[in-house]
């Protein structure tokens, strides 16, 4: 049996490759690298060594430091200009040749980890739209705002570079509206909806399969083939939290309990809990996240009644669901779409 997941603290990423943009930005803004690396148990001398490996947990901590240390409001957006197409050769040549937006998104889901180890790209469809969800590997939608801002702005500006008209898109951010709303307007080209309790980009389905002017099917297929040869698509989840999230989402109508998940991993419930705690989560918070995200999708799609949503999310009745939803978001499900 292959490994089901990599622990969040496993050092699997080359420091130089993953911090290149951030360190260059820090240098041009006169921020000392040690300020960025504070609390990540890595020092700037370590990074000079090309073989230094970092864990996703350390990278997440560094991104959180970045928010504080840059001072100016445009740090995350400037970083976004470096993220796509990025430095990974096969990954970059593939997405630069994306024949359609749908190809780009499907490729990001399969191989996004090559260039963006901290974000899981997920997609959900309803009748009109595709929801491209940006899920941080530690399943924390709220605390990773710097990371989310930079990846969103990278995706927006890269899509526009490919020739996609992004004017009919929407963007949802889980965190509260920051003071620098103008930055979003200039770098995203639109104003996101904040305090939405999910990080996602909403794309009308009609625009997904339009041919892109810079795309080339032949070059894209070739680059994909190279990508597959050199890097197998990941079979194991990038963190235990993400594995739990995926397992719960796949079987949400009869969500497996804590004991059952522990058994699948051949762990005792106590050590399962302990491993999750190391990643900063718990079974309950992850289940809440899955349910919250799905509830938000159903509400946006607007086809199910509150009762039916409650049923889909495995609640006994709609009152329980409403109570939970209020606990997650502070408002009633019926008011969610109207808010802000």
């Amino acid at each position: 049996m292959h490994k089901l997941y990599h622990a969040l603290a496993e050092r699997r990423f080359l420091a130089q490759e993953n911090l290149l943009g951030l360190l260059e930005l820090a240098q041009s803004r006169g921020v000392h690298p040690d300020k960025l690396l504070k609390g990540s148990s890595i020092f700037s001398e370590d990074i000079e060594d090309a073989s230094t490996m970092l864990s996703a947990q350390q990278l997440l901590a560094i991104f959180k430091n970045a928010k504080r240390s840059f001072g100016a409001d445009d740090g995350s957006f400037l970083l976004g200009q470096y993220l796509l197409p990025g430095n990974h050769p096969q990954f970059a040549s593939a997405i630069l040749a994306s024949p359609t937006l749908l190809d780009l998104i499907e490729f990001l889901q399969k191989f996004g980890f090559l260039s963006q180890p901290l974000i899981e790209f997920k997609s959900v469809y309803d009748d009109q739209n595709l929801y491209l969800q940006l899920l941080p590997v530690d399943i924390d939608d709220y605390a990773n705002d710097f990371l989310i801002e930079s990846i969103s702005s990278a995706f927006f500006s890269f899509s526009r570079w490919l020739g996609v008209d992004t004017s009919s898109w929407f963007c949802l951010h889980a965190f509260k509206e920051p003071k620098y709303q103008e930055q979003f307007l200039v770098h995203y080209g639109l104003r996101p909806k904040f305090a939405s309790h999910i990080n996602a980009i909403i794309i009308p389905r009609a625009s997904l399969s339009e041919q892109l002017p810079r795309g080339s099917r032949a070059r894209f297929d070739l680059a994909c083939k190279l990508c597959k040869q050199k890097n197998l698509p990941e079979k194991s989840s990038r963190s235990l939290s993400l594995w739990v999230y995926q397992s719960l989402q796949d079987e949400l109508s009869q969500a497996p309990g804590l004991e059952e998940l522990a058994e699948r991993l051949e762990l005792s419930p106590a050590s399962f809990k302990r491993h999750l705690k190391v990643e900063g989560g718990s079974y309950q918070t992850i289940l809440d996240s899955v349910r919250r995200h799905m509830a938000i999708y159903y509400l946006h799609a607007g086809q199910l009644s509150t009762e039916e949503i409650a049923q889909k999310l495995n609640y006994h009745d709609k009152h329980n669901f409403k109570r939970s939803f209020r606990r997650w978001t502070g408002i009633n499900p019926s008011l969610y779409l109207a808010s802000s």
Partner: protein, 312 residues
């Protein structure tokens, strides 16, 4: 702060030398008092004055470059410091009545210091007026250092909103139109990618100077966000604003940017859009500022689209 102070090392050394000489001479001339003779309340008061004088002196040097105004203010403060220092020394050291040293040092520098400070302040006022003239197009009558952008030295979008709302209120009362001009560098993302953020920042600051040169006296330039600039144009109709926008586009297109001090020049185009607030003061709107900015941003997005189509 330390770096700025290093430029004034000679001044700092000089004042330290003077103070130590003063202490040595006083010690040589007099004798120390007994502990019970010392009046602690006086020491607290006079010591506080000396301490504050030193703090001000350091703040003054740390905040100003060399020049006549700095020298005048420095010598004024130094005189204060010496006079109040002598006052403080008298509390610890008794001098024989016959010496005029203490008396002289206590009273002579004070009026000289006053005089130097007054002349210094007068020049400082004139210097400030000259600076205000230079900063006019950057701040328009209000200064708030917290809202300044580090790269271009321009005010940010928050400052733009407050100024625009003041301007709109005034203009509507007088029945004058107000225009807002948005300016955005084309393909700035690629410039950052190709040349690096440091060069991108330099292009922004050089374009800032260029735009400032080409604005009228009453205009206000702000950095909106990223590579987008906003210009508030009081008492300006749409046609005039469009004309200025066209001129700015021309000027920017001909600006030869030399990356990393290389000899070959790079040229960049910019896109502009204009929105004008009408004359109708009778309509009570709550978010005029937001609506005006929104309109300008929308038109800029359209202008960008047109430019992309033209290139393609």
């Amino acid at each position: 702060m330390l770096q700025q102070l290093k430029k004034h090392t000679s001044k700092l050394l000089l004042i330290l030398l003077l103070l130590s000489a003063q202490i040595l001479i006083t010690l040589a001339l007099g004798e120390s008092k007994q502990w019970q003779e010392v009046d602690w309340l006086d020491i607290a008061g006079e010591g506080g004055a000396v301490w504050l004088c030193m703090v001000w002196l350091i703040v003054l040097l740390a905040s100003r470059p060399h020049g006549p105004v700095t020298s005048l203010l420095f010598w004024g403060f130094s005189c204060f410091l010496i006079a109040s220092g002598q006052d403080l020394l008298d509390e610890f050291i008794r001098l024989p009545d016959a010496t005029i040293w203490s008396h002289a040092v206590e009273s002579i520098p004070m009026p000289i210091g006053m005089l130097l400070m007054s002349i210094g302040l007068l020049h400082w006022y004139r210097e400030q007026q000259a600076l205000n003239e230079q900063l006019l197009k950057r701040e328009r009558g209000r200064r708030d250092h917290r809202r300044l952008d580090k790269i271009t030295g321009l005010a940010d979008a928050h400052y733009l909103r407050t100024q625009l709302s003041i301007e709109l209120q005034k203009a509507r009362a007088e029945g004058l139109p107000t225009s807002i001009l948005m300016l955005d560098i084309d393909e700035f993302r690629n410039i950052n990618r190709r040349l690096g953020i440091t060069e991108g920042d330099r292009l922004l600051s050089e374009l800032t100077e260029l735009i400032l040169l080409n604005l009228r006296r009453r205009d206000l330039l702000c950095r909106y966000a990223g590579d987008r600039f906003a210009i508030v144009m009081p008492a300006t109709c749409q046609e005039m604003a469009v004309l200025v926008a066209q001129q700015l586009e021309d000027v920017c297109r001909h600006f030869a940017f030399r990356a990393r001090n290389s000899d070959s020049a790079q040229f960049h185009t910019v896109s502009t859009a204009v929105a004008t607030d009408g004359l109708d003061a009778s309509i009570e709107e709550s978010d005029v500022v937001d609506k005006l900015l929104e309109r300008a941003n929308y038109r800029l997005a359209k202008a960008k689209e047109r430019r992309l189509l033209k290139v393609a």
